[in-house]
């Protein structure tokens, strides 16, 4: 009976420290890479800029799966009783979206692109409503990479 309590507390502490460490590290990396790839332009618009030179168009994408930690899950569970902003999940999704876009940009840069247009995001939850399972979220970012034609 008490064992349950101790295991629960231990998992909570473990989840909190490792989850927070991972999140801090991830955000640091995201901010640094976003700065690095800012020269590669991304647009959500479907149409190309009207005065664009002839360019090669190719599909690029980047996806990421991030798992929540035990602490986030419990915090969200408590939040679901009273309602309101689930801040622990907000930061998780923010990380997933930005990471997916970054991976898409890395793919575009590898192809020598200077611009990605028609960028879209898809989100899915991998463990949908499975009671005892730790949930994770997948975000997939994709778009059309435009590379200048070298003649």
């Amino acid at each position: 009976m008490y064992l349950d309590l101790y295991i629960f507390a231990a998992l909570l502490v473990l989840g909190f420290f490792f989850g927070r460490l991972a999140e801090k590290k991830h955000f640091k990396s995201i901010i640094a890479r976003e700065k690095k790839y800012r020269q590669l332009l991304t647009f959500s618009g479907r149409l190309l800029p009207p005065d664009l030179d002839r360019a090669d168009a190719e599909l690029v994408g980047g996806n990421v799966v991030i798992s929540i930690d035990y602490f986030k899950r419990i915090a969200a569970g408590l939040r679901s009783i009273v309602g309101g902003r689930v801040t622990t999940y907000e930061s998780l999704l923010e990380r997933a979206r930005r990471e997916a876009i970054l991976r898409m940009k890395e793919a575009a840069i590898a192809k020598g692109a200077t611009m990605v247009v028609n960028v879209k995001l898809e989100t899915s939850s991998i463990t949908k409503g499975k009671g005892q399972q730790i949930g994770c979220v997948e975000v997939y970012a994709y778009g059309t990479a435009l590379s200048p034609i070298l003649t």
Binding site: P49, D51, G77, S80, R85, T88, S91
Partner: protein, 286 residues
């Protein structure tokens, strides 16, 4: 070509700057306090309502379960019947000394098991294990044990616990149904558990006090009662869980209560020995 750029988006739009632990603690303690309050109220209400169930009804509820469990399956030997008869006789005398209300009577069941335990249950039934009886040094300690269990019957503790358990269990089951995380259910469940255990500890304290008074009435003094708790604190069965998680008051507290009680009721310490046949079972097994 027109000049395009992706401007830097400031941080903190989608992510709250607030420390996650702060939100968690507010929620956990807030919900914990509400749950504890609900459990407390329900326990009080259930405990109060249960007193309106007549003892005869409780007895008839218990009879159906008792005829199938302890008594009828096991055929007692003559020796065991003698012990049970002796225990019943002592219990009857102690019931009189404790002024058990009319219509309320206790039935003692002797169980030939090594378990160091005794407990009172629904319908005035008291279960005594050989394991505990054979460890007791004299009749005074045995009388303390019986009086403690009779006091539980008198305060209607078994039916009160049952009523509380049902009311609180139902309430928590419906409350935890709102959260979608099964771990939050566990959290709520544990708060409920701790609260209900604290309740029964109060009942135990009351039963100890009542039992001491009974010994005073029966023997003229309550000395020797602490032997029971000394026995309980010795040996392998002396589990010492943290106070918060224990249903029974911790042994030192109980022994101190006996000493305190005896301090104000000074009498001559003459312990009544246990009858021969009870001494024999303990010696035969040592």
């Amino acid at each position: 070509m027109t000049k395009y750029e992706n401007r830097h988006i400031p941080e903190g739009i989608n992510v709250s700057e607030e420390h996650p632990l702060k939100e968690f603690l507010i929620l956990a303690f807030g919900l914990g306090a509400i749950t504890a309050l609900v459990v407390l109220l329900l326990s009080l209400m259930a405990g109060w309502l249960v007193h309106f169930i007549p003892f005869s009804l409780e007895k008839s509820l218990a009879t159906s379960s008792f005829s199938t469990s302890t008594s009828s399956d096991v055929v007692l030997t003559n020796e065991q019947l003698e012990i049970e008869g002796y225990l019943q006789l002592l219990a009857n005398k102690l019931s009189a000394a404790q002024h058990l209300p009319d219509g309320m009577e206790v039935v003692v069941h002797y169980v030939d098991g090594d378990t160091v335990n005794a407990f009172a249950t629904l319908g005035g039934n008291i279960i005594m294990y050989r394991g505990l009886i054979e460890a007791l040094p004299h009749e005074n300690a045995l009388a303390m044990l019986l009086s403690h269990e009779i006091a539980h019957i008198k305060q209607r503790a078994p039916i009160v616990s049952l009523g509380r358990g049902v009311a609180v269990g139902l309430a928590l089951a419906s409350l935890s149904g709102f959260g979608d995380s099964s771990m939050s259910h566990q959290l709520i469940g544990n708060v409920g558990l701790l609260t209900s255990l604290t309740f029964s500890r109060h009942q135990e304290e009351q039963a100890d006090i009542e039992a001491l008074q009974t010994l005073e009435n029966y023997y003229g003094h309550a000395q020797g009662a602490e032997s029971l708790f000394e026995i309980l604190s010795e040996g392998d069965y002396a589990l010492k869980p943290p106070k918060l998680l224990s249903t029974h008051p911790i042994t030192e507290e109980r022994i101190n209560r006996v000493r305190h009680f005896n301090g104000s009721h000074v009498g001559l310490a003459s312990y009544k020995p246990l009858p021969e046949f009870l001494v024999n079972i303990s010696q035969g097994l040592d």
